[in-house]
Point group: C2
Chain length 392, copies 2
């Protein structure tokens, strides 16, 4: 059970964004009793969806963020001026419904790129959303924002400061541009810690960089990615910075692991660690080339300890290093060093380790102190089906 941080409540409704034949919640609201201390990161894609642009504006202009509003089933991306108007109209509707000041909402959407919002569905579901407030849980929120996620993703963590409890909770859907047109990773972390805006943003960006920015499902960055952080201060406890960072990082690391594990069709999570590079950037480039390699990903799906593909991926990462000094440790076992394979029956040695979901891959370069970590999913038949078959 994840404890809800003080000051937050949830509401969900079925707005039928996927059509009236699909009965499920697809509209979700998190409300904060007070103006929250806020932070956010958004997609780096040049094509930013209307809700991303609106959320960025509201973070600048608002007197205090009071709510996160997410719909699934319609992405409102690549929809031009008409899409912006629709996003603003839905904001005004929800502001009025919950008596919120102007620009106090952070909106996010996930669904088919290029399709226009059906505003009537927003209007028709407004009263149901209002009635749900306080009766919905964080898990209900997590379910309403799902697209093809196999399970709702939410985590929590409580810490004690001088005998007083401070709660953190976080929720997410999708990983990368994981789903058929259902572009998006959307996530939110909330806490009742008392924290200044500067401290909250510092801790937030620190934790995001080491968690969400270190995962990949398919390498495709969506038009709608948004990660919101809201602190209500309602615990009345000020958390020391190092503990705030540590706790946020734990919550977001747990959550981002779930995103990779529930990557489209994923059966494996590669934990890729590159060290000894000339720079962190070099290490990152190698980790991402391995994690994005179709051949490495399909080998993982096939439970195949095909280290040659890992070595070949490292070698094409446009990073300068001495190939004869590189060491590869797979599932804790050194398999390649000094330019040649270690002598072993790899099928026998890796039979048991490759039955696990989690596959550690260590690359050591002996060139410097640069390092990087990446969690990446495999590439399976289910991924292809999910992304090729949905229109048929």
């Amino acid at each position: 059970m994840v404890k809800t941080p003080l000051g937050f409540s949830f509401a969900v409704a079925d707005a039928s964004f996927r059509g009236h034949k699909v009965q499920r919640t697809d509209l979700a609201l998190t409300l904060c009793d007070v103006p929250a201390t806020s932070a956010a990161v958004f997609t780096t894609n040049l094509f930013k969806a209307a809700p991303v642009l609106c959320a960025q504006e509201n973070l600048k202009n608002s007197d205090g963020i009071r709510a996160v509003l997410i719909n699934s089933g319609q992405a409102n991306a690549c929809t031009g001026d008409k899409g912006m108007s629709a996003c603003l109209e839905s904001q005004r509707l929800i502001e009025e419904l919950f008596s919120l000041p102007k620009d106090a909402i952070l909106p996010a959407s996930t669904g088919v790129i290029g399709a226009h919002m059906d505003m009537q569905k927003w209007k028709d579901s407004a009263s149901a959303l209002k009635n749900s407030l306080g009766n919905a849980s964080l898990e209900d929120f997590a379910r309403a924002i799902m697209t093809t996620d196999a399970f709702p993703k939410f985590v929590g963590e409580s810490i004690e400061i001088e005998g007083k409890e401070v709660r953190f909770a976080a929720v997410a859907k999708g990983a990368g541009m994981i789903c058929p047109n259902m572009a998006t990773m959307l996530s939110m972390v909330i806490t009742d810690a008392k924290v200044s805006k500067e401290e909250w943003q510092e801790a937030f960006h620190y934790a995001v960089d080491k968690s969400f920015n270190r995962i990949s499902v398919d390498g495709d960055t969506s038009t709608n990615d948004s990660l919101f952080g809201l602190a209500s201060g309602k615990s009345n406890v000020t958390v020391p910075m190092d503990m705030l960072k540590k706790t946020l990082l734990k919550v977001l690391t747990d959550l981002s692991y779930l995103l990779v594990k529930d990557g489209e069709g994923a059966t494996k999570v590669m934990h890729i660690d590159v060290s000894g590079a000339k720079s962190d950037a070099d290490a990152d480039a190698i980790a991402r080339t391995i994690g994005h390699s179709q051949l490495v990903k399909t080998a993982m799906f096939g439970k195949d300890p095909n280290w040659g593909r890992i070595v070949a991926a490292a070698g094409r990462a446009h990073v300068d290093f001495d190939p004869n000094k590189m060491q590869v440790i797979l599932c804790g076992i050194e398999i390649f060093a000094n330019g040649e394979p270690r002598d072993m029956d790899i099928d026998a040695v890796f039979l048991e380790p490759f039955k696990e979901t989690d596959i550690p891959i260590q690359i050591i370069l002996q060139e410097g102190t640069g390092k990087a970590h990446l969690k990446a999913s495999d590439l399976s038949h289910a991924y292809v089906s999910c992304n090729a078959d949905y229109r048929s």
Copy 2:
């Protein structure tokens, strides 16, 4: 029928590199009667296979290249000093067998990375290879170097200069690091044109850059990629430079198209054209991001005109452009411009065009004169099977 350029002959043999249960040719030789004018390009992967390193040395040291020697079934990559010794030993064996001078062979290998060569198999098959000389065709050569290629890939072109015929022929296997551990794109182009080394190399690099460097199956660059160009001069015809470039480009474009079409599990060939970028490099980055996108590739396999994924891929290519000026033309039909979709029933409009193998994708940026072209295959269930299932 491809006419063999004068001065060249072929030999093939079954060396059982895949084990004695598999009956097929897997050792192939092209012999030139005279020292050939030579050119070559190799993988950019830091981990270069032993035959790549040997071929690079021989191009520097040889008094004239006389042969191309390719085996399939064993890649001799990531095999260290032992692999280099094995490669040299096989060279010496073939040099002696065909009475060639030292270092006159360009070797290439394709097969499992990290496995050591079985030299006994070379020795056992030597006499069969010798007996085959002159009895084998270019098609036989193309078949012997296949791994999981669905069909042998070879093309030819003859031109007339002042009433005299000049022949070009080319052969290839695999595309990208297309196959289960069968790392490699290997290719050879031969001609009887009379040409200086400088002219041949200029034309060769010109044509390679516009053909082989413009294709992708899975974005994985192998440890063994090699493309050799040999000119015998036996037609006694000097081909003007512009015609040499044009003909070589046609031959290598035809051949590289076949590589994409026969990409692992491929059902589609995307012809991606990006224009109006600030630079050719920008256009290239966008073309490659689209061509390598798992989501675009799976949409193509699903016959889904999912233009939102193309737009999203362009937007994450780390290229600076105004998203509101970008235009997307799919199968000749403008589908996205001015930041919004064109109003149409896309399923109906694209039903027939998406039944074709070839899918033209045009991206126009209106930022400058930079342009790039890329041919890329789709991502299918057969790709996953081929690369995940081979050890089971």
